[in-house]
């Protein structure tokens, strides 16, 4: 009996009348509808069976008379199975059981829908504001259907985020929102006792751009990949491929094999340059700028290659629903091989020169340690989890595109510290090169005149669910799509890999030195823009005014003279 059947049978028996239906759309996906009373029991059961929590998705289903919907998704990595539990709550009583006491990683998802949809969660240990800015007025929930995507309500006055009190005997060091060691805005309030970090509180979500809301109100299915790509400045293709896969799964569309391999090449190129970027940044953060310079020099070759292949250094724009836009022909494939050969050679030389360097070892070994159990508890993913000995990789466990047709290894480390993430990432660079070369071999054998994309036959029916995974350089990214009317998704949820990893940063920081803060936060390769993707752009006053250079100067001078 497969895991899928076993789960359905168990849920039917266990939940009795609270079980509504189960639907298996494509292999490896199971969508279950429950009554909301049974949510907690079902989630407990799944976790006891070895599931890994992924993400919660809330949406406004009032149009169909179902109130508010809440989907929790779980992954069974050993069985290549993703399970989504969906429940509904009526409009006048949007309250669900909180899963956070059971699964700490669910905390953010629930707080997010508390802010954005006005849902309430019973027994949530920390039900404070997460996503909305401090001056966003109470009672306006941006993801609700009646709120327009460009709403700019007057700011609430005299409000401030209540940071927690520092534990006794410690003092607070505020790091961020803008800090030299953070590349994007995020606020960490770090509790220190002397030089030792005793705790930390995170306040983020400062760069919301309202992308999900935009897709649900303004864009159409085929516009979204190009906007999804701009969620992240590094792993753009991850999001566009992921979104396209989710829609294709919901629509039952099968894309040409050629397109699958081309998508894989784009994804692995991204992994290559992302890991090299990380290596450079990590070197920079620990004050080892030779690594920074040399890693980025090697990376530049890949950026130029991407520019030749796709027409842009970073935003490849390769993906549309049903396939890809540009072909990789013989000339280009030779170009790729030549560049990769060069990159591999240079990377080996760099690795030999730096991996035994004492500077790196002293700054990374034993820093940011987290045990394997903690990593599983916090649902860590990607290189951060693999450095803690958690053997998981969405490419192998939940194969998408044509990853089941190529051979590669999943590098692991068991040191559980920053050093481990470094080793894992360096090894993954060679694996990515291996995968691209195999893809090119396969592409050359495929018929040349195969179409690059297929068209949809008729509109996509509303109300279908699609769930997709892509192993981004930072870990798996999850996209959930619920198809809607008017040629656009009813709900599109993006869970970037930093989302779960960032929640575990306070645990990683514990008992480390304050000076190691940048590299510990850097070790998860935080992508704040990815994580902060949802909200409406706000300004303090509704009016926009441009300041002249002189005015700005006066302002800054005035401030200084006041001091």
């Amino acid at each position: 009996m497969s895991r899928k059947e076993e789960l359905v049978r168990w849920l039917e028996k266990e939940l009795d009348g609270n079980f509504i239906s189960a639907e298996a759309t494509i292999p490896g996906r199971l969508f279950i509808d429950l009554k909301r009373e049974a949510l907690s029991a079902a989630a407990t059961g799944l976790m006891n069976r070895g599931a890994r929590y992924q993400v919660g998705v809330g949406y406004d289903a009032r149009k169909s008379g179902q109130g508010f919907g809440l989907v929790h998704t779980f992954a069974f990595d050993k069985d290549s199975l993703l399970v989504a539990l969906r429940t509904f709550a009526p409009e006048d009583d949007p309250e669900f059981d909180s899963l956070t006491p059971l699964i700490p990683g669910a905390g953010w998802s629930e707080r997010e829908y508390q802010d954005l949809l006005g849902l309430r969660f019973r027994n949530h240990p920390n039900p404070r504001r997460l996503v909305l800015s401090d001056d966003w007025p109470e009672g306006i929930y941006p993801l609700r259907r009646e709120v327009p995507h460009d709403l700019m309500p007057p700011a609430a006055e005299e409000v401030a985020f209540r940071l927690e009190e520092a534990p006794p005997g410690t003092s607070i060091v505020p790091l961020g929102p803008f800090h030299a060691s953070l590349h994007e805005p995020a606020h960490f309030s770090v509790y220190v006792d002397g030089e030792d970090i005793k705790g930390c509180e995170y306040r983020g979500f400062m760069t919301h751009r309202g992308i999900e809301k935009l897709a649900q109100t303004e864009l159409t299915y085929n516009d979204v990949p190009f906007v999804a790509e701009r969620i992240c400045g590094i792993c753009g293709s991850v999001h566009s491929v992921n979104y396209a896969q989710a829609v294709e799964a919901a629509a039952g569309l099968r894309i040409p094999r050629r397109a699958e391999f081309i998508r894989m090449v784009a994804l692995e190129l991204e992994r290559l340059h992302s890991h090299l970027l990380w290596l450079g940044v990590a070197g920079h953060l620990i004050g080892f700028d030779t690594v920074f310079m040399q890693a980025w020099r090697i990376r530049e070759k890949i950026m130029w290659l991407a520019e030749r292949l796709t027409g842009n250094r970073k935003t490849y724009g390769m993906v549309i629903i049903g396939g890809v836009r540009r072909d990789i022909n013989q000339d280009r494939s030779e170009d790729i091989r030549a560049v990769l050969k060069e990159v591999e050679r240079e990377m080996l030389a760099l690795e030999k020169a730096i991996l035994k360097d004492r500077t790196i070892h002293k700054r990374t070994r034993g820093v940011g340690y987290l045990s394997r159990e903690e990593a599983v508890k916090w649902n860590l993913i990607g290189p951060v989890a693999r450095a803690r000995g958690v053997d998981m990789d969405a490419r192998r466990d939940h194969p998408y595109a044509a990853y089941d047709e190529v051979q590669f290894e999943v590098p692991l480390a068991d040191s559980g510290d920053v050093w481990g993430t470094l080793v894992v990432r360096v090894k993954e660079v060679y694996e990515a090169i291996k995968i691209i070369n195999q893809c090119l071999d396969k592409l050359e054998k495929l018929p040349k005149n195969e179409p690059l994309s297929v068209d949809l036959e008729g509109p996509i029916p509303a109300g279908r669910q699609g769930l997709s995974l892509v192993e981004a350089p930072r870990g798996e990214a999850v996209h959930y799509v619920l198809t809607g009317e008017e040629n656009r998704p009813e709900r599109w949820r993006v869970r970037a890999p930093t989302y779960p990893n960032l929640q575990a940063v306070p645990s990683m920081l514990l008992n480390n030195k304050l000076a190691d803060f940048p590299i510990i936060v850097g070790s998860i390769d935080p992508c704040i823009s990815c994580t902060d993707r949802v909200l409406v752009v706000e300004r303090r006053s509704g009016k926009a005014r441009l300041l002249s250079g002189q005015e700005l100067e006066n302002l800054s001078r005035g401030k200084r003279s006041k001091k």
Binding site: F226, V227, T315, A353, I354, D357
Partner: protein, 181 residues
Amino acid sequence: MWLWNKIKQLAISFRAGMVTLHYPFEPRPAPEGFRGQPVWDHTKCIGCAGCASHCPARTIFLRDICQELRILLYDSSRCTYCGRCADLCPEKAITMSDKFELATDNRQDITQSLELFMMTCQRCGRCYDLEIKNYIDRLSSLGYRYDSLEARKVIRRSTADFSPEELEKTVTYERPGRLEK
């Protein structure tokens, strides 16, 4: 060990030499197939609005200012250079050029607008593109650049050679804001 590593690093750095380009003092041409600023070819455009309705950034606008005149406005300030417009254009009137140095303090520098002369369908009354691709014929149609729309009259002006006066008139020509029937 430590010293040996540093020597290796030195060797890598020296072998790489200087890699920084002398840009912008030396131009760095964009590679073939680069997605730079899109450029519209007004002779090919039929005003179908395919680009406007598929632009993910919603940066192409189409307005019918009168029965015969359709304005296509491309505002590059929000463009994401995805090239979707060029893909979808049925007449291949849009090409993604290799222009990427687009920083400016004047939005007009990167804005393109096309005035498209449309004909009226005798059945539905909506406008469609002129089927005539002949420029002389085009001159006879309503709404051409030198037309007097008030008088509904074609004013044909052309010279055998380039005339600065004519150019001056063209540049300073102001289209009437409102049609009087």
